[in-house]
Symmetry: C2
């Protein structure tokens, strides 16, 4: 199993979410075409994406919703739960903490760190805020798999360096800066400013537009 692009992985997430909804609605079976339409892609794309990991459909019939969900969860590593730490208990950080959806998907925020002595020792959405100085020790003792960085841009690289040195291999960054991590560490960025600026670009350049349609339908 090689050659899996980031866009494929992103789509798998989308497929999974869709399928979970359909399962709730009692749908049992589904074609690549039906799934594609609901995810804003093409049937061929769906089949290609899935074919990278095995063969999950039945010819002439389509995919079993339940089986495909199981397969996707396995591919995405969602059969286990992941232990997540949040660094930075500011506005965004706390909002994420309260975002119950993460928990539902298998991600438990079990530790929070902040530099502000006024917050340390308090609880946010039930989780104890620990001192920044306890970061390395806490990551270790809580067996953290993934760190969410929600500190101001200036502090982000320093936090990441410490987190990586402590052995964490997956980081989700909300700070609006480019972070450097060594090979072997997975880094994903959520940069709202970039998305807003893409909208600004689209608005400023509407009229004769660039690519095919005019709808950069995003993912």
């Amino acid at each position: 199993m090689r050659k899996v692009s980031e866009s494929t992985v992103g789509r798998l997430s989308l497929y999974l979410r869709l399928l979970s909804e359909l399962e709730t609605d009692g749908v049992q079976t589904l074609s690549s075409e039906a799934l594609a339409q609901r995810c804003g892609t093409t049937a061929a794309q769906v089949r290609k994406d899935l074919s990278l990991f095995g063969t999950f459909g039945k010819r002439g019939l389509g995919y079993s919703v339940a089986e495909l969900i199981a397969a996707l969860r396995s591919i995405l590593g969602l059969e286990r739960r992941w232990r997540v730490a949040l660094v930075g208990a500011g506005r965004i950080g706390v909002a994420l903490l309260g975002y119950q959806d993460f928990r539902t998907q298998g991600f438990d925020i079990v530790a929070v760190f902040d530099r502000d002595a006024g917050k340390v020792g308090q609880r946010r959405h039930g989780v104890l805020v620990r001192a920044d100085a306890e970061l390395e020790q806490g990551l270790e003792s809580e067996s953290i798999d993934i760190v969410i960085v929600a500190v101001p841009g200036e502090s982000a690289q320093a936090v990441v360096d410490r987190v990586v040195a402590a052995g964490v291999r997956a980081i989700l960054n909300f700070a609006p800066v480019k972070l450097n991590v060594p090979a072997g560490v997975a880094l994903k960025n959520v940069n709202m400013a970039v998305e807003l600026e893409a909208l600004s670009y689209a608005l400023a350049n509407s009229g004769r537009r660039s690519r095919r349609g005019a709808t950069p339908a995003g993912r």
Copy 2:
């Protein structure tokens, strides 16, 4: 000027942010190589991206930081300010409201709408929360350019339909669902669950990995 990919626009945002920092530090001039390194891309990529819009550098010398900033701001449509409305004053919505960074970049959240009667009439970070029923009227009277959707997944498509019908042509979606918009409307998604699942995938599949390095350095 044709054929500008989403990834190019994303990188332009990054370049701009970097350049702004450098300008503050007093840097006057810079090569494509230097910019590339700080943005995690290549010099050729930087030059290609910029060349789609004109010629901004001086051969043998590099780019003037100030001039390139001006050019990028113009390209991205950031020479004006944009009027933004937030729909959904829940946790994420309010966190975004408080996120001063948007304002700095030229995006003013000037209206907030929520369905919860308990919130209507109150203020959040100084902005009055309006009733959901006033949505169309408010978008119009406040001359809203961009709408941020921060409502639960179930309500998101309905909100988008109303917003589009009201003439808004740019939407930033935080709800974890796939939204449909007609051609001519720009839609960007911020989906934290997708990013977390990409990390889960990376962790679950470390060892012999797919692509080149192991660092899907994200953007």
